[in-house]
Subunit: 414 residues, 2 copies
């Protein structure tokens, strides 16, 4: 991947911003606390084989894997499965909402299908996923009787918590979530890797890309793209660009953008500060959000992930009538047309006063995705420290939970 801010209106970072980045980098690399993710790509070397074996077992016994998880417990896996067009076990996501329709639809999809369940939760008491586990344990029991437990895979704290206890008592296969890794930084632990592998993704290449990236971006110097990106976006924020529109030109990157929104929003949005993360999938959203981006409030910056996709392509067909006037494109590849749309849009948005950070990915594959995960995690940790907040806590999420628990009548909250 390649970062470009210079030619895109975002500009090169100023010296003062890079100095701030240097100080923040020290803090980030100091490690400790919830920075175990810095080590994950290397640490996971020892667990790769176990995860791959469990995934092979799942693919062998099941056509679908029900993934129970919410927030950081499913976004990374879903981002990867959709971006890489996984063709292994079908992933069915539940426990990510409180919609009865989600349950109905999942049950319908599973009707004539063998399936397994991966339940992903540090504690095991998150309401959404706990309800889902109850429901899908019943479905498993009904379908597989005494052997149902063999189809449950728990990804949870290595020692503590309700889900760990359940896994132990019921003899479920389990994988640890390292205690020094927070949910939104956990995609390269079993949290992300187990569903990815079951979906048929080569996790070795994802981890390889991640290890490469951690190596490449470990340099404490201003040329480091992580520094450049963090410095530029912080400078833009100081200059009044309060919203960052993460964009891609491939719909299957939509969940990668969702992953980015959690990563940055939860890491930076505190103490009345932080860039608001929004997302758009182009060219689709040029036909809905394009007008605003071009001419609305000038408090926007944009970060485009432009990935060349090698999976498939097609040619624009010839039409004898040419009523639509499109024959000048005959024989051109659709990917080429898309690239021109990207380039034209980039020019237009910059001209309209929206600075754009461009991250180009030469090929949408496991290795590049591993790199992207690491690049953005590093940039986010660095950005948070530059902003002067703790990028690894989330003190605000308790507020709605305690009010909800009180309304639900949960013991201890009434």
């Amino acid at each position: 991947m390649k970062l470009d801010t210079a030619g895109t209106g975002a500009g090169l970072p100023a010296e003062g911003d890079l100095k701030k980045a240097a100080a923040a980098w020290e803090k980030l690399m100091g490690g400790g606390g919830m920075t175990g993710w810095l080590e994950l790509p290397r640490r996971m070397k020892d667990s790769e084989a176990d995860i791959s074996a469990a995934a092979a077992e799942i693919m062998d016994s099941s056509r679908a894997l029900v993934v129970i998880g919410i927030g950081g417990s499913y976004l990374g896996a879903r981002a990867a499965a959709e971006a890489l067009d996984a063709q292994g076990a079908e992933l069915i996501y539940v426990g990510k909402d409180m919609s009865p329709r989600t349950y109905r639809d999942a049950a319908r999809q599973l009707e004539d299908k063998d399936f397994s369940v991966a339940v992903i939760s540090k504690s095991g008491t998150t309401v959404e996923s706990a309800i889902a586990l109850r429901v899908f344990r019943q479905l498993l029991d009904k379908k597989y009787g005494p052997s149902a437990g063999k189809r449950i895979y728990a990804v949870t704290d290595p020692e503590k918590g309700a889900l760990r206890r359940m896994a132990r008592e019921n003899g479920w296969k389990s994988f640890p979530i390292p205690p020094d890794v927070g949910g939104r930084y956990s995609v390269l632990s079993a949290v992300g890797l187990l569903p990815m592998a079951a979906a048929g993704i080569d996790i070795h290449s994802v981890l390889d890309g991640a290890r490469d990236a951690m190596e490449e971006y470990s340099d404490g110097n201003p040329e480091n793209p992580v520094w450049q990106y963090a410095a530029v976006r912080n400078a833009l924020y100081s200059a009044g660009k309060k919203t960052e529109l993460f964009s891609a030109y491939e719909p299957s990157l939509g969940y990668f953008l969702e992953w980015l929104k959690q990563l940055f929003g939860e890491s930076e949005g505190k103490e009345g500060k932080g860039i608001f993360p929004a997302s758009a999938v182009f060219t689709t959203d040029l036909h809905s959000m394009g007008q605003y981006i071009q001419q609305g409030e000038r408090n926007l910056m944009q970060t485009v992930i432009y990935a060349e996709d090698v999976l498939c392509d097609m040619e624009i067909p010839y039409d004898e009538e040419d009523a639509d006037g499109l024959n000048y494109l005959t024989g051109k590849k659709l990917s080429w047309v898309r690239r021109k749309a990207f380039e034209g849009t980039l020019q237009a948005h910059v001209a309209g006063g929206v600075p754009v950070n461009v991250i180009e990915v030469p090929e949408l594959c496991g290795e590049e995705l591993g790199r992207l995960f690491c690049f953005f995690q590093l940039a986010c940790g660095l950005s948070g420290h530059m902003l002067g907040v703790d990028p690894f806590n989330q003190p605000g999420v308790e507020e709605y939970k305690s009010r909800m628990f009180s309304l639900l009548g949960r013991p201890g909250y009434v």
Copy 2:
């Protein structure tokens, strides 16, 4: 539906704001220009039967309907089909992006299925949809030979443009897009109604709800919820709330939120002004965007559409072990739990300094959806006039198009 701003931190509109609303209302109701949508629910009475007949024909001949359209030419239909859980012909959306994967996936989905095509475009020269029409005409020709044209339904300008010409020359069935109705206000014309009806939605009830709403909200007085909402959000914008987070608690309302983003973003985002429209589906996104909403920059307002869903529900199962501590919810309906999550979140966000407009919908059905479409269109037109912009143009969308055409080498643009 019922609007509540008073108890939710958004407050009652001030007298000055309502005066501004009164002046803007005059302008809006003056009609002319692109305000044909004000009349659409009544006008469509005459076309309902034709659209329903075409839809019946589609459902009879086809298991899937390929919907070719982008922006306002597909968002409304998709919003309705997903919200109302349509069970007629399967809608497959193409021409809404430039992704080769979209074409590959659509072709796979159609492999062993009879299908028809609805192509929706005022001009017929929008690049995305024009390419899609070329591709799916070829597929139709290959599958159905000389009778392929009987499976194409064009929704386009009644007189002018490439698609009208093609429809005429090839004898395709066609429906008009009224020239005085813009794309983002066209959901209640054949643009939205034809795919809806083919998907099995009772469009009569949608139009009934719409007619009711147009009647109910036609009153020029401060009690009108349209005035209240427009006045409150404009006052909040003036007070620095630059971003409006449209939210729902049901994932199948996700495309309704996308429809809202186009409606408001394209209507208001111009001349350096306008509220930036973002969206979130809860409770899912409380686990990603919740932290930011609770404690980030205080430039947010929120508008929640809370819809009771009567389609399906379920009870929280009992678990003897109760390791997750969830037995206090045993036997409770999931919809009840969701409602408590909504109420707790509302309290939390208001306490955190985010004003929330609440729109409650007693039942997610065609009639209520028709009402919602009209409520928001009226509120958007009114809001735009209060802001001092033309809510019915979109001068900024040409910028990227002309640059793209130049890069593509389109004759006349090089």
